[in-house]
């Protein structure tokens, strides 16, 4: 039986060393991606499975593990942590009194319980000291500001690289791919108020030449981006990235002149031709 234990133990050790090796090699490549996380999870799972198997074998009823070299340290630790008294000694621990037949034992509190209890108390004291004595206790507002600052820095980089478009740099796109993406975004977000064909319901008709907040790609982009809270048009800039807003703005403008089923009456002012030219010019440039 001993030999079986040893075999399992070596398999166990080998597994640990193999997986820890594969872990370090993954780490040196510097790939902190989902794969690494998955691999770690896998390693941990396998370690747990092996450990359970090992314990199952050494603790199996058929396995007489008295005096087993591997188990002695474990048993020592377990005994130290639990201080379980053998069942035969139980009668010495019984209080004489009973309550409606219920007796009580004078077992000592398991040491591991005390470690846990006093450990959490120490942890609590440290926690309070770290945040409220050594620091000023403004935990969550600081956390929030740091998070927002970090996001701001990342956003700046995106703007510099041109990944981010604003109402100054936006251009009208007419390619099929953009318009079809715009159509999808429109269908998902806009149709409840503007209806599927752009005829308008809660929101205004988008197919006529009349615009409440100005027509043309720049104005439409700006309206989508900032919204018009007073009129119920919400701001989309936290929900759609700038390329998506460009796509949907382009799609909206592609609806100009179509004939919706139930068009809402025109609202706003007629958007003049000359400015439409400048939009076209912007596309060329």
């Amino acid at each position: 039986m001993k030999s079986i234990n040893k075999i399992w133990f070596s398999v166990f050790l080998a597994a640990i060393s193999f997986f820890s090796y594969s872990q370090t090699s993954a780490a040196t490549e510097g790939s902190v991606d989902l794969d690494a996380v998955m691999r770690t999870m896998l390693v941990l799972t396998i370690i747990v499975i092996l450990a359970v198997l090992w314990l199952a074998i050494v603790y199996s009823e058929k396995n007489d593990n008295e005096g087993d070299d591997f188990l002695r340290p474990i048993r020592l630790v377990t005994n130290y942590l639990t201080r379980l008294q053998p069942m035969e000694k139980e009668k010495d621990l019984l209080f004489h009194h009973d309550f409606d037949g219920i007796r009580e034992l004078d077992n000592r509190i398991p040491p591991w319980f005390n470690f846990l209890f006093y450990g959490t108390i120490i942890w609590a004291v440290i926690y309070l000291f770290v945040f409220h004595v050594f620091d000023d206790g403004q935990i969550q507002s600081k956390e929030y500001l740091a998070e927002v600052k970090q996001a701001g820095l990342e956003r700046e980089i995106l703007i510099k690289t041109g990944a981010f478009i604003n109402e100054e740099s936006v251009t009208l796109l007419k390619d099929a791919a953009t318009l079809s993406e715009g159509k999808d975004i429109f269908a998902k977000n806009c149709v409840t108020c503007h209806t599927a064909d752009g005829g308008g319901l809660v929101g205004p008709n988008l197919t006529d030449e009349y615009w409440i907040n100005g027509g043309g790609i720049k104005n439409v982009f700006k309206t989508i981006k900032n919204g018009v809270p007073a009129k119920g048009m919400i701001s989309w800039q936290t929900q759609l990235d700038s390329k998506k807003m460009q796509a949907v703005a382009s799609y909206v403008l592609s609806l100009q002149g179509t004939k919706p089923a139930n068009p809402k009456a025109p609202e706003g002012t007629k958007w003049g031709e000359p400015k439409a030219d400048s939009t076209a010019a912007a596309v060329k440039s």
């Binding site: 409606d100 034992l105 959490t120 945040f131 969550q140 809270p229 009129k231 929900q239």
Partner: protein, 708 residues
């Protein structure tokens, strides 16, 4: 010494247990209905009285106070008499307690569907019922302490320690949290506002879990588990340590329900650290339960009663570890407002309270009818059906909770929300809700196995109404406190014991609540926060009546993912006129703190009539009755006066012109609706609700919204 003859009152135990089983069926059925409404909103059959927001509190009240409550009382009346060797102090008080409590439950079952609610979780019942609860609870306490005082047993057994702590603590919690100003027979406003109300409410709410669902059940465990296993309690010393540590530490942990809210950081940190310190004392109960079974594990295999109890105690151990983990801020940032919390709560409710109750019932009914359990096989089947039900309930809840939280937080590489449309995250988890309701259905089904088995058991035996007993009286204790024997000394003195328990449980609440009420710097003033207009105030009361707070939070947490989605995070100063606070604890729908001005009036008008017209796929119920019911404006004056006496600065004499103001604002909204093509009647409730929704969070939206 002379033996005295007396008898134990089993009749009262029978009554409570019968009521418990009946209300368990009702409470679980309501739970099942609302679980299905979360994916088939039409299941309210178009009736306001059985719509989610109104009957969700009915479910929680029914299972906590009716099912678990009656099990507690029945179990206490059975075990207390026996460990004290005395009949209950007064048969009249026992019956008064029983009928009073059932009447309260019926009052709850009628008033909650009618929309009569304070909206404070687990304390929804309105002030007349609150008063009745106080009276009945004191009757129970008097009866219990009276029994303990006239006992024939020198020492008080550990089970009764827990009963005593339960009584004193629930008394304090109920009184402090229910201080409210009536504005009519069925309506009141909490005297606390905003963050103060939140702290008091969750001090109460958390400790309702602690002292209604936990300590009395630990007491029951200390009686029924050793009885059923016929084994001695493992460690008396552990009983002492975990009892006092538990009741002292528990009371501090309430703020963990308010992490990342506008509650000051110091109070949040106290909530976190005290929750972590609670792990060991909670596990003390589990340990003493499980180790009591030492040497009896072979019997667990073929004794269904022990099976129920073992899994119950294990579920208790799991949820009391999970709870502290969820109190860590980084875990709470994910778990809060999601189904994870619902899963956690149900491990406790279905596992610990439910299974323990079933174990007690299967043990108790044969005992009181002087017979054996009718069918062990059926009890075993019940055990497996119930356990499987819990598994099918809990796992999908964890899955959906974590999935939805991660979706809420996910940004694209370009730095915008990946799932900006809240509804998308809702639709993602609907399959999990379907599985969850199947789990609940299984558990519910198990109840009928229990009922059949217990009825058959009762039929084959005959009920022992009064169980004869004899014991000798005790002499008055005169011993001195000896070193190391303090607790032995204390156990003979129930009144001192109760007073000491009272002091121990008062400390935590006092340290947190008094500074929050007294020190202004905890709630920095915001000048732009103004009281609600009369119409908005009426709209807010409709929001409360319909239980919107069950699904919609009004608390934007200081995370970028939330401020991007909803707007500026919630500040403590925003809540100073919020009687009661409406932060909510669950986001089945999106947060509404910054809803004001986000959409036009028309959007809300169409959305409340049929949410799916504006948000295809939405699982929100329709509210057609708001369009036909006329707003009751006769209460406006009383409400303005009440709010003023709570410190809301309405000008002197404003109540006289409040109704005029209300009508004016209603007309303006109606006119706007008409201009947008929706003819509406200005005196209907929907107009008030729209005015409230449009006001939400606008006071500090600052210059952006002020531009209109």
């Amino acid at each position: 010494m002379q033996l005295e003859k007396f008898s134990y009152d089993n009749q009262i135990v029978k009554q409570f247990m019968l009521a418990a089983v009946i209300f368990a069926v009702v409470g679980m059925l309501v739970g099942l209905i609302i679980a299905i409404q979360l994916y088939i909103p039409e299941l309210n059959l178009g009736l306001q009285y059985i719509t989610f927001g109104r009957i969700r509190p009915l479910h929680t009240n029914a299972v906590i106070f009716a099912f678990v409550g009656n099990i507690i009382f029945g179990g206490v009346y059975y075990s207390l008499q026996r460990v004290m060797k005395a009949r209950m102090f007064s048969d009249f008080l026992s019956q008064f307690h029983f009928w009073g409590w059932q009447l309260i439950i019926v009052a709850a079952a009628v008033s909650l569907p009618l929309g009569i609610t304070t909206s404070k979780e687990y304390a929804e019942l309105e002030w007349p019922i609150d008063l009745a609860i106080a009276v009945i609870w004191l009757a129970f306490g008097t009866n219990m302490l009276g029994t303990i005082i006239k006992r024939r047993e020198e020492h008080i057994y550990v089970a009764a320690w827990f009963y005593i702590a339960t009584f004193v603590t629930i008394t304090v919690l109920h009184v402090v949290n229910s201080i409210e100003l009536p504005v009519g027979m069925f309506k009141s406003y909490s005297v606390y506002a905003g963050v103060q109300d939140a702290l008091v409410q969750w001090w109460y709410g958390h400790n309702a879990v602690a002292f209604f669902l936990t300590t009395p059940y630990l007491g029951l465990m200390y009686y029924f588990l050793p009885k059923a296993a016929n084994r001695p309690v493992y460690s008396y010393r552990l009983s002492i340590l975990h009892f006092w540590a538990l009741i002292f530490l528990y009371i501090w942990a309430g703020p963990h329900h308010l992490l990342y809210s506008s509650l000051p950081d110091w109070a949040q940190s106290l909530g976190t650290v005290f929750s972590i310190m609670l792990i060991a004392p909670s596990w003390g109960g589990m340990l003493n339960g499980l180790l009591t079974l030492r040497g009896a594990w072979d019997r667990v295999r073929d004794n269904p009663i022990l099976k129920f109890m073992v899994v119950a105690v294990t579920a208790y151990g799991m949820s009391t570890f999970e709870g502290p983990m969820m109190s860590l801020k980084n875990v709470n940032a994910i778990s809060h407002f999601t189904d994870w919390t619902v899963g956690h709560a149900h491990i406790g409710a279905l596992g610990w309270n439910g299974l323990m109750s079933f174990g007690i019932l299967y043990w108790l009914i044969p005992k009181m009818w002087g017979t054996e359990l009718f069918s062990k096989k059926l009890a075993n089947l019940h055990f497996w059906v119930a356990t499987l039900g819990i598994v099918f309930y809990a796992i999908p809840m964890y899955w959906s909770g974590i999935a939805q939280a991660l979706m809420w937080k996910q940004f694209t590489p370009l730095g915008v929300l990946q799932y900006p449309n809240f509804l998308e995250t809702t639709l993602q988890i609907l399959p999990m809700h379907v599985i969850r309701s199947f789990g609940g259905f299984l558990y519910f089904l198990g109840m009928f196995l229990l009922i059949y088995n217990l009825l058959a058991t009762a039929k084959q035996g005959s009920f022992i109404k009064n169980e004869e007993a004899e014991a000798s009286p005790i002499e008055k204790a005169t011993d001195k406190i000896k070193r190391g024997m303090f607790h032995r000394w204390l156990e003979k003195r129930p009144v001192k014991f109760a007073l000491l328990a009272l002091v121990v449980i008062l400390i935590g609440g006092a340290v947190q609540i008094i500074p929050m009420l007294a020190i202004d710097s905890n709630i920095p003033t915001i000048a732009s926060i103004k009281p609600y207009t009369p119409l908005e105030l009426q709209g807010r009361d409709i929001y409360i009546r319909e239980g919107c707070v069950s699904c919609h939070s009004q608390l934007v947490r200081p995370f970028r993912s939330e401020t991007e989605r909803y707007g500026e995070y919630t500040k403590a100063g925003e809540g100073v006129y919020e009687h009661p606070f409406l932060w909510g604890s669950k986001r089945t729908g999106p947060d509404l703190q910054r809803e004001g001005g986000k959409y036009g009036n028309l959007w809300h008008f169409l959305h409340m009539e049929d949410p799916r017209s504006m948000s295809p796929g939405s699982i929100m119920p329709r509210y057609p009755w708001l369009y036909t019911q006329t707003l009751d404006v006769s209460t406006t004056k009383t409400k303005i006066n009440a709010m003023r006496s709570l410190g809301v600065p309405y000008a002197e004499g404003y109540e006289e012109i409040a109704e005029q103001d209300l009508l004016k604002q209603a007309d303006a909204i109606t006119k706007d609706l008409l201009n947008n093509g929706a003819p509406a009647e200005s005196d209907k409730e929907i107009i008030a609700l729209i005015s409230y929704l449009q006001r939400l969070g606008t006071d500090i939206k600052g210059n952006k919204a002020a531009g209109k």
